[in-house]
Symmetry: C2
Subunit: 274 residues, 2 copies
């Protein structure tokens, strides 16, 4: 291959790094790929660090030590995160999305590749430092945002199910009390899905009473896994006291009734405004 | 902002384009962002087109006409797709992943952000020309690959459920016969999830008899939606005749028994080898 020019190398390098977020690439990897010297690539990385920063495209980090190299993280600044979530809140607030029974319709938001990608980046930014080994979610509606968060963190996604299925093999089942309905439910996870002694970040779409979240925490205890954090797209304002604590949600939901009409008031969570 | 140099502009531009796959950006958008002339940006695009092509990082396309501009597509070449799928097949074949009942355990593959991203790019490559308006999947295990395919196509994801839920609002329910068990099941989709007259690409994890796939096709008819194609991660070799036709699967699964031991033979689908 003929010698690659700097501007070609830079764009290819950023693309490769950002396609595998949070994964450390050694400089040697790029030396081989681009047939360039380490000193040259170090300069490249300095340039890319500035570029990503000035356009709000995440950040490049140099990691020192034996397993060192460079990695891309799709971090989102506090200001950008708050702006983005405010936009979502405006879209979700009002009367139009409120369903009979006081539920909020936002399945379209939860399965939008564009929106969940960005939400995943916001949540990953909040949890990079906790170094989870995988993201855990409970089927169904949280799967997209859990996947994008796992992608941004560079870790696998593990999905707990309502019932154990034949095609999952031997499984650990636990019972938990659904916070909203008070009924006893079952949560199941294949034995081989998780390794003992690892670290989980719980990500789900909705937090009301916290029964399901508490179930996921209990399930992780069965696997001797440490839960490093819990993140949700939406938390209800009531009940204020959940069965879990220390979680980070992106938005808070309150349904207000006046006469026959119900209206949703969706606000950014307070940690985003801090 | 001070004038941006070409190498900075190129990397930022490729990152922005590839973060929103298949979306057309006008040249004016980048003119404003980078404070550069159209002629300069046209040259940039030519360079980026070469870069993405020579490193197998997808492709840049110039779209002419009133709504014209430039778009990134994460296309995967036939050769790369086949190589990748062959690697997956090697990982999934053998005795280790076969569960009692002759099921194959591959939930880890189906929820891996890295693997599903690439599978999504392969499937999108096969369906860009059919111009779907959205991707439809049926909960649960196909959601990750359906999301990444939708992302690569730049369209929303719509998820059909087993039962209608209060928080989905009014829904269309259909009954279908599960191909594998022969039982009657229900499939449900919120009325507001899909607009009449649009085009759907069906993406799911597993095709056996084709009952669920046929159900999704019937469901789309209820919404007056055209099904432009069907894609699956895995199809069983038997039965050879499915209730749907014209689908594209990535892999074919055959379980072979010899004495007490069952072994999985997973092969790339024939359209990938063509």
């Amino acid at each position: 291959m003929e010698k690659i020019r700097r501007n070609e190398r830079l764009s290819a390098m950023l693309k490769i790094l950002s396609d595998s977020p949070n994964r450390i690439f050694t400089l040697s990897h790029f030396c081989d790929l681009f047939d360039a010297a380490k000193s040259t690539l170090s300069e490249d990385i300095d340039i890319l660090r500035d570029v990503t920063q000035s356009f709000g495209l995440g950040e490049l980090e140099t990691v020192t030590g034996a397993a060192g190299g460079v990695r891309y993280r799709g971090t989102v600044s506090k200001a950008d995160a708050l702006d983005y979530v405010k936009g979502l809140c405006a879209n979700l607030s009002g009367t139009e999305r409120v369903l009979p029974g006081g539920f909020l319709y936002y399945s379209d938001v939860l399965s939008s590749p564009e929106i969940t990608s960005y939400m995943g980046r916001i949540l990953a930014t909040a949890y990079f430092e906790t170094e989870p080994d995988f993201v855990l979610t409970m089927e169904t509606k949280g799967i997209p945002v859990a996947l994008t968060t796992a992608h941004a963190l560079g870790v696998p996604l593990v999905i707990a199910r309502h019932n154990s299925r034949a095609y999952e093999g031997s499984a650990v089942n636990i019972n938990y009390v659904s916070g909203s309905s008070g009924t006893i439910q079952t949560m199941s996870l294949a034995r081989r899905a998780v390794r003992e002694g690892t670290r989980a970040l719980i990500v789900d779409d909705f937090l009301k009473g916290g029964g399901t979240a508490k179930g996921m925490v209990d399930l992780m205890h069965e696997f001797s896994v440490t839960v490093v954090g819990m993140a949700f797209v939406m938390a209800t304002a009531a009940p204020e006291k959940k069965r879990v604590a220390g979680e980070k949600s992106l938005m808070t939901l309150e349904i207000r009734r006046s006469g026959d009409e119900a209206s949703a008031l969706v606000r950014p969570a307070s940690w985003l405004e801090a």
